[in-house]
Subunit: 213 residues, 2 copies
C-alpha cells in the first residue's frame, strides 16, 4: 500500500465506536439509547452532536418492539431509506418512501406544500405503530405532527432529524415539545438546531433495529 | 396549518441559500466555486463548514467540462448516487456505484480490504475523465489515489468527502496534498477533518452539474 491505513471493515467500526465513546459526553443521553447516540455521531463525524441530541426515555424499547413485531419504516427521503441496512432489520420490515409516487406532485399543488410533505400524507395507511425516519425536510416533520394533531394514526416512534436553515430547528423544537404542548407522548429522537440529515436518520434506525453493534 | 412554517419548496431553497450567503465566510473559497460551497453548507446545515473546505482553483471548469461532455459519475456509496439530482445533469450522465456488484465480496477478501475499496477497483473502465464522488469511505479515497499512483486512469475531478473517525481526515489530507506530494494535479474538493458524508458529496456534484441554483 502507498498509504498507511486500516482497511479491515469490522476493525474500522470497532475503532470508530471506541473513539466516539472515548471523546463523547454520552452520559447526557438515556443509558438505553447510548448506542443510538454513538451511531448518529458516527454518521456525522462529530462528537459534539451529543450536546444537541434529545432522546425520549422510551425511544429504544418503543422502536425496538415495533420493529420486532414487523412495523414498517417510513422515510421522507430516498437517501434515508437507502441508508437503512436491510440485514439489521429484525422482521424483514418494509421500508417506504413515497417521494417519487406519481400522486405526489398533484397533492403538493393541491395543498400548496412541498412534495416531501405531500409524500408524508401517503404514509397514512402504514403510519399506525410504524417507525418514522425524517432526515431531510422540516415540512415533512411539521406535516406529520399536524396529521397527528388532526387525529390521524400515531407512529410507535419518530426519528426526526431534518437538516437546514429554514424551519429545521423549529420543526425539531416542535417535536421535542409535542408531549408538553399537546399531551400526545410519542417516543422520539431529534437533534436541536440546524444539523441533521439522511445519514443521521438512517444511523438512528440502524441502531434501533438491533442491539448488536 | 397548526404550525407557522414556509411550505413552498422553491422559496425554501431561496431563503436557505440567502441565509447561508449572509452567515458564511465564502470569500475563503475560489470565486467560481462559491455555489459549490453554498450547496455543501446547505447539505450539512453548518456555515462553519467553509473553514474546512479545500477547493482546487480549477475544480469547477474541470468538472463542468467533463459533465457537459457526458462523463460518468462514480460514487462510493449508494446514498451518494441517490443524492444526485438527475434533472441537473447536463448530458444524462451515467451514475455508477458498484458496492452491490456481485464481484465485490470476493475482491475485498482477495485484497484484504473493505468492500467499498474493492468496489472502487471496478471503476477502472469508466475512470478516465470521470467525476468521482466519495462521501462515505476513507478506504475508497485511499484506494483511488493508490490506483492513480500505480499509473491507472485519472478522473477529471474528485469530490472527496469521506466522513468519520478512522482514516477520514488522513485520506482527505492525502487528496489535498496529492499534487504537491506526487506531481499529479487533479482538481478536487474536500473537507478537512472528520466531517463529510453522502449529502455533502452529492450536494457538491449537484452544484457542479449546473450553474443554475
Amino acid at each position: 500500500r502507498r498509504y498507511d491505513y486500516i482497511a479491515d471493515g469490522p476493525a474500522i467500526y470497532v475503532d470508530s465506536f471506541a473513539t466516539i465513546r472515548r471523546e463523547s459526553a454520552l452520559d447526557r443521553v438515556p443509558a438505553e439509547a447510548e448506542k443510538v447516540a454513538v451511531r448518529m455521531i458516527h454518521g456525522s463525524g462529530q462528537t459534539d452532536l451529543v450536546d444537541d441530541l434529545v432522546i425520549h426515555p422510551r425511544l429504544v424499547p418503543a422502536a425496538r418492539a415495533a420493529l420486532n413485531s414487523g412495523a414498517p419504516i417510513l422515510c421522507d427521503a430516498r437517501m434515508v431509506a437507502m441508508g437503512i441496512t436491510a440485514g439489521r432489520l429484525p422482521a424483514d420490515n418494509p421500508v417506504h418512501c413515497f417521494l417519487t409516487d406519481e400522486r405526489v406532485p398533484a397533492l403538493a399543488r393541491q395543498w400548496s406544500t412541498t412534495r416531501t410533505a405531500a409524500a408524508v400524507s401517503l404514509w397514512e395507511p402504514y403510519l399506525d405503530g410504524a417507525v418514522v425516519a425524517i432526515g431531510n425536510a422540516p415540512t415533512a416533520l411539521f406535516h406529520l405532527l399536524e396529521t397527528i394533531l388532526d387525529g390521524g394514526p400515531r407512529p410507535a416512534a419518530i426519528v426526526g432529524c431534518p437538516v437546514g436553515f429554514i424551519g429545521a430547528a423549529e420543526s425539531k423544537d416542535a417535536l421535542a415539545a409535542f408531549a408538553d404542548d399537546h399531551g400526545i407522548d410519542i417516543p422520539f429522537v431529534t437533534v436541536r438546531g440546524r444539523r441533521g440529515g439522511s445519514a443521521m436518520a438512517s444511523s438512528a434506525v440502524n441502531a434501533l433495529a438491533q442491539e448488536e453493534e
